[in-house]
């Protein structure tokens, strides 16, 4: 290893410190007794207790989870179909438009998608009377719309990397194309589909902008609640919430890594 590696190590070190320092500070302050967030007043769990007592936090969290589960599933179904179409169906009429609509949500700013969705719902309401109230359903629709793009990209790239002769062999052995899809294609790409679902779930549970635009009275998601609290400044109970979220995600990622590694090891055992 040459001199350059010190530069790389420094870059990596600085980069990771940059990424993690704010998070670590939040975790630290979540245990701060004092209400003045940055003035250390002793170790305490009171903010966690307050969090669990808080009705609106729990309601918002539940709503976010419900919407996330529904929209992740919807996005996974639509996105898998879209990814399959792009990877396996060759040229078809309107393919260019389809591809554009699949990749655009990845980059178009959320304020634009949120705004446009709201205007759609308002116009639809004026024209056909639905949706008369905006809330969980409209939020879910919005989330499905942008998550589908992410799922499609993941599924498409997995399919493109997959050995086509697997599907050909299945057909050669007597499987009709729809059967082959369920017997071979979907099982082989199932890890990608699962990770796509997880991604869609995360995107939904984390979304603020689109939810803000298309939501209605009584439907406050967790990010919306947090945002209204922190607009005015740092608050201690949000620190506790943040720590909980980080802990949950970290545990989830570690478990996932563990499961994957066990699966890989099992596959190698002769």
């Amino acid at each position: 290893m040459r001199d350059r590696s010190t530069f790389l190590l420094l870059a990596l070190g600085f980069g990771f410190a940059f990424l993690y320092l704010p998070i670590l500070l939040v975790i630290l302050y979540s245990f701060n007794e004092s209400r003045l967030v940055t003035l250390w007043g002793g170790f305490s769990l009171r903010w966690y207790a307050e969090l669990f007592r808080s009705r609106d936090v729990l309601d918002a969290a539940l709503l976010s989870l419900r919407i996330a589960a529904v929209s992740a599933t919807g996005a996974t179904v639509l996105g898998t179909l879209a990814g399959y179409a792009l990877a396996r169906m060759g040229p078809f009429r309107g393919r260019l438009l389809f591809t554009a609509m699949i990749s655009a949500p990845l980059v178009v700013p959320e304020v634009i998608t949120g705004l446009s969705l709201l205007l759609l719902f308002v116009s639809l309401d004026a024209a056909i009377g639905w949706p008369s109230t905006r809330g969980a359903t409209t939020i879910a629709i919005g989330h499905v719309t942008f998550s589908t793009a992410y799922v499609a990209v993941i599924v498409r790239s997995r399919l493109v990397g997959m050995d086509v002769s697997l599907e050909e062999a299945a057909m050669d052995l007597g499987g009709r194309p729809l059967r082959v899809l369920f017997d071979v294609t979907l099982p082989v790409i199932s890890p990608a589909i699962v990770s796509a679902w997880l991604l869609a779930f995360t995107l939904s549970i984390d979304d603020l902008v689109i939810s803000s635009f298309v939501s209605g009275p009584g439907a406050t998601t967790l990010p919306m609640l947090i945002f209204s609290k922190v607009r005015l400044g740092v608050t201690p109970d949000v620190n506790a919430l943040a720590t909980l979220v980080i802990a949950l995600v970290a545990i989830g990622v570690v478990i996932a890594g563990f499961v994957l590694r066990r699966r890989a090891a099992a596959a190698e055992r002769v």
């Binding site: 790389l8 980059v107 634009i112 205007l119 589908t148 603020l208």
Partner: protein, 299 residues
């Protein structure tokens, strides 16, 4: 699939139609509606804008479209400054993400497979935790009574707290912080495919490490660089959350303007016009992004 089968089975047609119809209705149509509303006048009514086609109006005046909103936005210096500022801030954030992210991605790609895995996980972990909460974390760091100021004061480096929070600098830091994983991941995906053999061959032919980087690594990693930059630049230009939490009243960011125009001023047609103009600004980069995606597809 027999590659030139002309008839497509029904289930494939339905399978394609479902996502297609959904996206047409909930992604494309909304943009067209935004366009339509940008040509309307605000009214005190539900919905708060004039319709494009009103059969109740007299013949000849049934269609109503106005350029007033565009004239208003384009004629206002503040709006123009906001577009400029957003672009500049997004561009600078992209540059800094690149400068920091490239060596990080390179370092991870060059690491041993076992370490590589852990490092990647460490990069992705913040990405999976709440974006909002991570931006919020910076509020605590940069405030007048925040950790940064406390440390600097205690160390004697400054004698008055720095005003960072609620300035453009805070927004800038927040953007780099939030978008860094979006730069690292596509760069990594590209760099990890770089064959060590190519680099060794270059070295064997007499190239010094710096030359190897300039002549071999950099050109080959260019697609990753382009993808990463676009993945940061485009959404950053319309970013809302970061300027809303970390920026001040004089931090002019177009995403925030759209939001405020919509929810605070309740002027939907103007908000629509601002959004359309932003989209026009982004059409070029978005098309470029789709071209790079298509090239990936062709591989």
């Amino acid at each position: 699939m027999p590659r030139n089968r002309v008839r497509r089975p029904t289930w494939q047609r339905i399978g394609l139609l479902l996502p297609y119809a959904w996206l047409l209705l909930f992604f494309l149509a909304p943009f067209l509606i935004v366009l339509k509303i940008s040509f309307a006048d605000p009214v005190v009514a539900q919905p708060p804008f004039t319709p494009l086609f009103d059969p109740t109006r007299p013949e000849g005046a049934r269609f109503y479209a106005t350029l007033d909103n565009y004239r208003f936005v384009l004629g206002d210096r503040v709006y123009l400054l906001t577009y400029l500022n957003s672009t500049a801030l997004a561009a600078m954030s992209t540059l800094l993400c690149l400068l920091l992210g490239y060596p990080m991605a390179y370092g991870i790609a060059r690491a041993r497979p076992a370490t590589r895995h852990t490092l990647l996980l460490l990069v992705i972990l913040p990405f999976w935790t709440s974006f909002l909460l991570r931006v919020y974390a910076w509020m605590g760091l940069l405030g007048t009574h925040g950790t940064l100021n406390r440390v600097l004061l205690w160390a004697g480096a400054i004698d008055r707290p720095l005003e960072i929070l609620y300035t453009d600098t805070a927004v800038f830091l927040g953007m780099v912080y939030s978008y860094l994983p979006f730069m690292i991941l596509p760069l990594y995906a590209n760099l990890v495919r770089l064959e060590q053999d190519h680099l060794d061959a270059a070295a064997d032919l007499g190239a010094r490490p710096a030359r190897v980087f300039l002549d071999v690594t950099l050109p080959l990693s260019l697609p990753g660089v382009v993808a990463g930059c676009l993945l940061v630049l485009i959404p950053a230009m319309g970013e809302f959350v970061i300027p809303a939490l970390l920026g001040g009243s004089d931090s002019l960011m177009i995403g925030r303007v759209v939001y405020d125009e919509f929810f605070l001023n309740r002027d939907w047609p103007v908000a629509a016009a601002v959004a359309v103009l932003l989209l026009l600004l982004l059409v070029g980069p978005i098309a470029l992004f789709q071209r790079t995606q298509a090239r990936e597809e062709g591989e």
